[in-house]
């Protein structure tokens, strides 16, 4: 299965409550690429996805995918969801409760094509590890399994574009982490372009090839996920994104629940996370970073990295300090603390981080 094309979107839609969606973007959707629409709840990301699926009408604008125009208000054109050749996975998966797993997956395949489609359905079932569950009803399988069934069903008609609405949010944290990697593997293996809506930056980092940051119905920034997450254009973007330091690193040793990391030549210790990939993103929230002056202070923090202050920016009553320690670490400290320590641009400081405050995400 191989699909690609340009996804061109330029739409506006107003709602009675005062909310309006006004977005316009154009991306190359190659086989296996994932566009992440990232935003807080109420940002309009689900509405955008529903517009792509033809489930929500638009006031003005156009949507094109590859050669097909799906919607163009100027030409009075609106292609029904049935004719868009999409695979849609809604937030709670929307499995048909009375149909078995297998019949859920086969639902969209016309009766005449069932025989021909059987090989493909069997392949999907085995790729997603659903062989044992084929005769089960949705209520008798776990949340993670339901997600895989919904994905298989969406893929059964070999869609040109997958639309995934928060595919991982209904799962508990440990399941979410392992399913996230599995989802990435599946999307790459089956090589379907996808649009994925999420409010979770870990989803964005692990799954996204391209990212659109949505807030209040507008696109704040778009580009590569790592760029946006690590170098937000402005404070608004930074506050929406929420995590301040993300930097690529390598896990070189694992011992008693602690991982030894190599980040730009520096060594860091972090609480270990159970996944096999040693290429990781090292993620640190700015409020978990302390600034120390001189050596000799005794502290429970495992990491002490000497560096120099590269930038200072006000953030309300606090200040956001970027320290260059070979890579940049963001710290959020009070203005008073900065003055008491006598710190200014270029000052030498030691950055302290607890091992448990370093979060590892597979790369």
């Amino acid at each position: 299965m191989s699909h690609s094309g340009t996804l061109e979107v330029s739409i506006t839609r107003s709602f009675a409550g005062g909310f309006s969606l006004d977005v316009s973007f154009e991306i190359e959707a190659h086989p296996g690429t994932v566009l992440v629409v990232f935003g807080p709840s109420g940002s309009g990301k689900t509405t955008l996805l529903r517009c792509l699926g033809g489930l929500e009408s638009i006031d003005r604008g156009l949507i094109r995918f590859g050669d097909a125009a799906w919607c163009d208000t100027e030409k009075d054109l609106l292609v029904r969801p049935q004719e868009r050749n999409i695979g849609y996975v809604p937030q709670d998966y929307g499995l048909f409760p009375r149909l078995s797993v297998r019949r859920n997956i086969e639902y969209g395949i016309p009766r005449s094509g069932r025989r021909k489609g059987r090989a493909w359905v069997n392949q999907l079932i085995s790729v997603l590890g659903l062989q044992e569950l084929q005769e089960y009803l949705p209520r008798d399988i776990s949340g993670g399994q339901r997600q895989r069934v919904a994905l298989a069903r969406a893929l059964a008609r070999k869609p040109g574009l997958l639309l995934l609405d928060e595919p991982l949010s209904a799962l508990d944290a440990p399941t979410r982490a392992s399913l996230r990697l599995e989802l990435r593997r599946t999307l790459k293996e089956l090589a379907v372009p996808a649009v994925l809506v999420t409010h979770d930056w870990e989803d964005t980092l692990t799954l996204g090839d391209h990212m659109i940051l949505l807030s209040g119905g507008r696109i704040l920034q778009s580009g590569a996920p790592l760029d946006i997450l690590t170098r937000p254009e402005n404070l608004v973007v930074a506050s929406v994104v929420g995590v301040e330091t993300i930097t690529p690193g390598r896990r070189v040793r694992r011992e008693r629940g602690i991982a030894e990391l190599d980040v730009a030549g520096r060594t860091l210790w972090a609480a270990d996370v159970d996944f096999s990939d040693d290429d990781v993103y090292v993620c640190i929230r700015a409020e978990n970073v302390t600034l120390e002056v001189g050596s000799g202070t005794r502290s429970s923090a495992r990491n002490h990295l000497p560096g120099a202050i590269a930038s200072i920016a006000a953030a309300g009553p606090l200040v956001r300090v970027a320290v260059d320690v070979g890579f940049r670490i963001q710290a959020l400290v009070s203005r008073q603390a900065l003055e008491d320590l006598g710190l200014d641009l270029g000052s030498a400081v030691v950055v302290g981080i607890k091992a448990t405050a370093i979060h590892l995400v597979p790369r």
């Binding site: 699926g53 033809g54 489930l55 029904r80 969801p81 049935q82 004719e83 868009r84 050749n85 999409i86 695979g87 849609y88 809604p90 709670d92 929307g94 048909f96 009375r98 639902y107 969209g108 016309p110 069903r153 969406a154 059964a156 008609r157 639309l163």
Partner: protein, 227 residues
């Protein structure tokens, strides 16, 4: 018991229920899914027989069927005989009179089908009509059975409309409920009581079936219902 009247009643109830099943499906699905702003007007019209005295409904139906109305005239020309005081006339009146009993349970159960599932079905390439038959109707089958059973029972118990439109013609338009009235008029209390008991037991059984079918969803909103 007057078995002719029992037979007439059963025939009337069966024919009316079948017709309302066919008419009710599209009407109920339109009421359940349409977002037209004046829809409430139609909802009121459908519900009208619930509150209207049967004599009022019967009067209008009778007038509309009569040879002096265009509708009645046209029917008489087409078929060769007028509608009033025939079994067919009774069916028309019963269909109108039992309309809410068929449409409301169906519309309610259609509207209760998870919108998410319907949309997923569309994105899987399944047309709106096919989605109705493959997804909505099976999910709402209790509502449809309820509609059928309630229509049947309600038609069986009709009195006023039947008397207005059908008259009281033995073997043609004399139904069980009218027969009971006749028996009482003739002071045949024993026959009347036997027929009444039969109708009472039948109605109770029908309602038991309806509530049993709806035991999980509840026919009326109730506090024990959990989301």
């Amino acid at each position: 018991m007057n078995w002719d009247a029992v037979f007439t009643s059963l025939k009337l109830a069966s024919v009316t229920s079948l017709i309302l099943l066919v008419l009710g499906l599209p009407l109920a699905s339109w009421l359940a899914f349409s977002r037209w702003r004046w829809k409430f007007l139609f909802e009121s019209v459908v519900a009208l027989p619930l509150v209207l005295p049967p004599t009022v409904l019967g009067f209008y139906v009778l007038t509309a069927m009569g040879p002096r109305s265009p509708l009645g005239h046209w029917y008489a020309q087409l078929v060769g005989s007028p509608l009033p005081f025939t079994f067919e006339g009774l069916v028309v009146a019963s269909v109108l009179y039992s309309l809410p009993f068929a449409v409301q349970p169906m519309a309610g159960s259609f509207a209760g089908v998870d919108r998410n599932l319907v949309e997923v079905s569309w994105t899987l390439g399944v047309s709106r009509l096919a989605t109705f038959f493959r997804l909505i109707l099976p999910s709402a089958r209790n509502g449809v059975v309820t509609a059928f059973v309630l229509t049947f029972a309600h038609t069986l118990g009709e009195f006023g409309v039947v008397l207005m439109v059908g008259g009281n013609i033995e073997g043609v338009t004399r139904t069980v409920s009218i027969d009971i009235y006749d028996q009482v008029q003739q002071l045949n209390y024993e026959t009347a009581s036997r027929t009444s008991l039969a109708l009472l037991i039948f109605s109770f059984m029908v309602l038991t079936l309806v509530y049993w079918l709806n035991r999980n969803s509840g026919l009326w909103p109730s506090p024990r219902r959990r989301v």
